[in-house]
């Protein structure tokens, strides 16, 4: 773990400090008059959604590097980012319905934003399934799927402006009350840090697995030589 680099440990320290500071900023943020206390889910729900989008874009970037340049590193980054997409997708799709139940009176609405978000999440689950069970072509198949998922991201983001929906529009963050800004941006930076740390250690795990596979091949070759 020593070879992770000074940047990793600084980010880890900042994230640890964030875990102490951000909750107090959220508590101090003013209560939204229409929705009340439940609006405080917003401070983590939106950053999680942004991390879902970011992970999907990074996954697509890695997939492009793998498909067109045969980059093994790109493939490792794509896999790590796909897992983070699913992780943050779970966070978005559980915190959202909890907020919706109080604000709209229902757990789920089949409107454009919620449905397209669910589709994006399922695409990333599909990526992982194709990779795991797709056989020899699984990596290429999943990489192609990642490109479609990335195309879906702008559609998810703009869906609230294009179609009539119960979900708040994209203007919510720019028009946020100035007193709510510190809580939102600190939560956003904390989530970005956590995302970067998770991506780093997940890529590292995949690199270690590749190294292990090479060592196993070497060991098998040595055994074959001994036998002959």
């Amino acid at each position: 773990m020593r070879s992770l680099g000074i940047g990793f440990w600084i980010a880890l320290l900042l994230a640890a400090a964030g875990f102490l500071i951000v909750p107090s900023l959220i508590v101090k943020a003013p209560i939204e008059p229409n929705m009340g206390l439940i609006q405080k889910i917003f401070y983590f729900h939106v950053p999680c959604a942004i991390m879902l989008f970011l992970s999907t874009f990074v996954c697509a970037g890695g997939a492009i590097a793998f498909l067109f340049k045969r980059s093994e590193r790109g493939d490792r980054i794509a896999l790590a980012a796909a897992e983070l997409s699913v992780l943050f997708g779970v966070c978005v799709l559980t915190s959202g319905p909890l907020w919706g139940r109080k604000a709209w009176g229902v757990w789920w609405q089949w409107d454009a934003r919620l449905t397209s978000s669910l589709l994006l999440f399922l695409m990333m689950v599909g990526y992982l399934l194709a990779r795991r069970y797709g056989g020899p072509a699984g990596r290429k198949l999943s990489a192609a799927l990642a490109l479609f998922a990335a195309i879906n991201v702008p559609l998810v983001y703009k869906s609230v402006d294009i179609w009539r929906t119960v979900h708040p529009q994209t203007t919510v963050v720019p028009k946020l009350d100035p007193k709510m800004m510190p809580a939102f941006w600190s939560a956003f930076f904390l989530m970005t840090l956590v995302w970067a740390l998770l991506l780093t250690i997940r890529v590292r795990l995949e690199r270690a697995r590749a190294e292990l596979a090479e060592l196993r091949l070497d060991a098998e070759d040595d055994l074959a030589e001994v036998r002959t």
């Binding site: 009340g36 439940i38 983590f44 897992e83 909890l98 795990l205 292990l212 001994v226």
Partner: protein
Amino acid sequence: MTTIATIAMIGRWMRRAVLAMAVLAVSAAPALAQQFEKVDRIQREEIPAARFVAIAYGIIWLAILTYVLFVAGGLRRVNDEIADLKRRLRSKE
């Protein structure tokens, strides 16, 4: 002849449908009316916002923590295997 018979059959079915709807409307009206009851104090559905906020944050951090443990466990296992294989390869040399 066949057309006339068909029209007559459709007419019969339409008469029966209208009759059935009328019977249903007459019989259902008192039943529905009986279900309304006067309530003096309206009990509003209270959804506990604080609990929902806590559950949302709990799920998010639990998911992230579970993932960290999963990756850290995998990393430790793979590093152990790498060290073991390297040791075995070195001992053969």
